[in-house]
């Protein structure tokens, strides 16, 4: 009882302090706030991005340009975080040998509400939908620097399509198409692609992830197009990692790490 009272007091005080802090913020979308208008005669960073992004990178989607180019370090280590989460789940849950025998889940009941034993409705719909979903995922990845989308979103959609395979048939069918070896390799390859783009810039005597110099390797007209193409390459790397880790998390969680039968 007493702990609850103290917890409530702590929560109320913290919340009050946060609300008090929020009251000092400029109003939402205020054009005169420092973040939008800059300090004094100095141009603010958002003004720079809005006016200069297209000139710098030939990428119309400012968000992707900021994420994959100006703030490339941040996005790279976001990908590493996802990779680490997947590896952690793999390390905790995955079991082999005798322990796997004990933990494995029985295959699900062989009856269905409409009397058949084939799951014909779900199976047919998934067979129609999955290719469309996968094509849409590739579109989201490849078009990420021209329209909303990018590596993370496209990778999640692609991973979800493999999860759909596992749900409509069973985990073994999905693992035949996307085996454990494949997804672990793909997760590492994705990050290697991203870091490789950064390292390639260093070999050409520029800073890590400074894509402009890659015009020498990619044979583009100028540093702008090199930055645009490098963003696409980086997005592909992110998509690889996210796809693999999405499916790895589902496969390990749904079968308690045995990677057999499952849900």
């Amino acid at each position: 009882m007493l702990t609850k009272v103290f917890a409530t007091i702590a929560v109320v005080i913290t919340g009050g302090l946060l609300l008090y802090g929020v009251s000092d913020f400029p109003a939402f979308g205020d054009p005169h706030s420092p973040a939008n208008a800059g300090v004094g005669n100095e141009e603010s960073i958002s003004q720079y991005f809005i006016t200069q992004t297209y000139k710098d990178t030939k990428v119309p989607n400012i968000v992707t340009a900021v994420l994959a180019d100006y703030r490339g370090y941040d996005t790279m280590f976001e990908t590493v975080v996802i990779f680490a989460a997947g590896i952690a789940i793999f390390a905790i849950l995955r079991v082999t040998g005798n322990e796997a025998e004990k933990k494995s889940i029985k295959p699900p009941l062989d009856s269905s509400i409409n009397g058949d034993h084939q799951r014909i409705i779900v199976g047919t719909t998934c067979r129609i939908v999955i290719p469309v979903v996968q094509m849409f995922a590739l579109y989201v990845v490849a078009h990420g620097h021209h329209s909303p989308g990018g590596g993370f979103q496209g990778g999640v959609i692609l991973g979800a399509s493999f999860i759909l395979v596992a749900m409509s048939e069973d985990l073994n069918a999905a693992l035949r198409r996307f085996s454990e070896k494949t997804y672990l390799t793909l997760a590492c390859v994705g990050i290697l692609i991203y870091a490789g783009f950064g390292l390639m810039c260093q070999f050409l005597e520029r800073n890590f992830l400074d894509y402009g110099i890659l015009q020498k390797v990619l044979f583009t007209d100028g540093p702008e197009m090199a930055r645009s193409h490098s963003m696409l390459g980086v997005e592909v790397g992110v998509a690889f990692t996210v796809t693999a880790i999405m499916f790895a998390i589902y496969a390990n969680l749904s079968s308690r790490g045995v990677l057999k039968n499952g849900l």
């Binding site: 699900p108 009941l109 009856s111 269905s112 509400i113 409409n114 009397g115 799951r119 409705i121 779900v122 719909t125 998934c126 129609i128 939908v129 469309v132």
Partner: protein, 123 residues
């Protein structure tokens, strides 16, 4: 003018079916009937609302060469409709199937228990 009226009628019709679906979700007695209301009502009402939007897009349509972007929006809306038409009933079915496998008991009118045993496997 007439296009606005048609699209408004479609959207309002969709909203009526949404109301029916949510009423059924709250008022029906057991899992299966609730899913029945939610699945059917949701599918039809989403389709009607999206079709209403697609019809409304035709308002600015003058000629194909100038307004082909409008047609692109309509095609996208129809694509979303087709996707919902395909997936929403399937997901309802899958959910009901999972309930049946998990042995959720349906609520049955007294004296009508027998018809469940006709062609379904017994628990």
């Amino acid at each position: 003018m007439i296009i606005t009226i048609i699209s408004m009628a479609l959207v309002v019709g969709g909203l009526v079916f949404f109301l029916g679906a949510s009423t059924g979700l709250i008022r029906f007695p057991d899992f299966y009937t609730r899913m029945h209301a939610a699945g059917k009502g949701d599918t039809l009402s989403s389709l009607l609302v999206l079709l209403g939007f697609a019809v409304y897009q035709l308002k600015d349509f003058q000629s194909f060469s100038e307004n082909w972007l409008v047609l692109l929006v309509i095609v996208k809306l129809l694509g979303i409709s087709a996707f919902i038409l395909l997936t929403s009933p399937t997901s309802t079915h899958a959910l009901m199937d999972a309930g049946w496998e998990d042995e959720v008991e349906p609520e049955i009118q007294k004296g009508r228990e027998n018809h469940l045993n006709d062609d379904y496997p017994k628990f």
